[in-house]
């Protein structure tokens, strides 16, 4: 099992990719997932994070089978 990573909108442009798949390891948090999938890119201050379709923060724990997404501030409506 692994962790599914997705990037949306301007964050996808920033990272240059729509998603990633990384190996799950004990003790990972969302910030680690960002680091591992972006070659150490600094997370933008306004970055939004979700874990399994719910907003979370960069310190949220993530594990096997989780889907972690990174996105910019939303602009719908």
């Amino acid at each position: 099992m692994s962790i599914k990573v997705r990037f949306f909108a301007s964050i996808r442009d920033l990272t240059g990719r729509a998603g990633d798949e990384i190996e799950a390891r004990p003790g990972l948090v969302a910030r680690d997932v960002w680091r591992l999938s972006t070659d150490g890119l600094e997370p933008p201050p306004t970055l939004l994070v979700s874990v399994n379709l719910e907003f979370a923060d960069l310190d949220a724990p993530v594990g096997e089978g989780d889907e972690v997404a990174f996105m910019p501030p939303v602009t719908g409506g």
């Binding site: 949306f8 909108a9 301007s10 442009d13 379709l53 997404a69 939303v74 602009t75 719908g76 409506g77």
Partner: protein, 144 residues
């Protein structure tokens, strides 16, 4: 209660008319509050010729269902209709339609505004505008 993402343009007044014909109990709801948001042909002083509305399908739909349920129970609404475009949108087209029905006006107004503020600030949608000389992401929504 109905929540839908739409790939194609829609006429908000025809949608409301059809929804009421199908669902309204005559004489029950004293109040309906409705908001429609349409694509403008200018934004921040620049001409905008088109827009792409990106979303995060699984999360956006899940978020909207939860949001609609929350509004229904918090304001004891009689009914709720929420439509939101995704994909390519042109100036003048309706992006969002929010309609709520309730016994009295205060609940209708408050719930309608609550739904719209969530759509603007918490629901996963992102606008990329097509300008005359390129494209840009809309970076943030203005406060309500």
């Amino acid at each position: 209660m109905r929540v839908e993402l739409r790939q194609q343009p829609y006429d908000p007044w025809a949608e409301l008319s059809a929804h009421e014909r199908a669902h309204a109990v005559p004489g029950r709801s004293g109040a309906a509050a409705v908001f429609t948001g349409s694509m403008r042909d200018r934004n921040e002083g620049v001409t905008v010729t088109g827009m792409f509305l990106e979303h995060y399908p699984e999360m956006t739909e899940r978020h909207l269902r939860g949001l609609a349920q929350e509004a229904m129970s918090r304001w004891q609404l009689d009914d709720l209709l929420l439509l939101h475009r995704v994909g390519e949108v042109l100036p003048g087209q309706t992006i969002v339609l929010v309609a709520v029905w309730s016994a009295h006006r205060a609940a209708a107004f408050e719930a309608c505004r609550f739904l719209l503020e969530d759509l603007k600030h918490k629901t996963p949608f992102w606008k990329r505008e097509t300008l005359e000389d390129g494209e840009r992401w809309v970076e943030y929504n203005t406060p309500g």
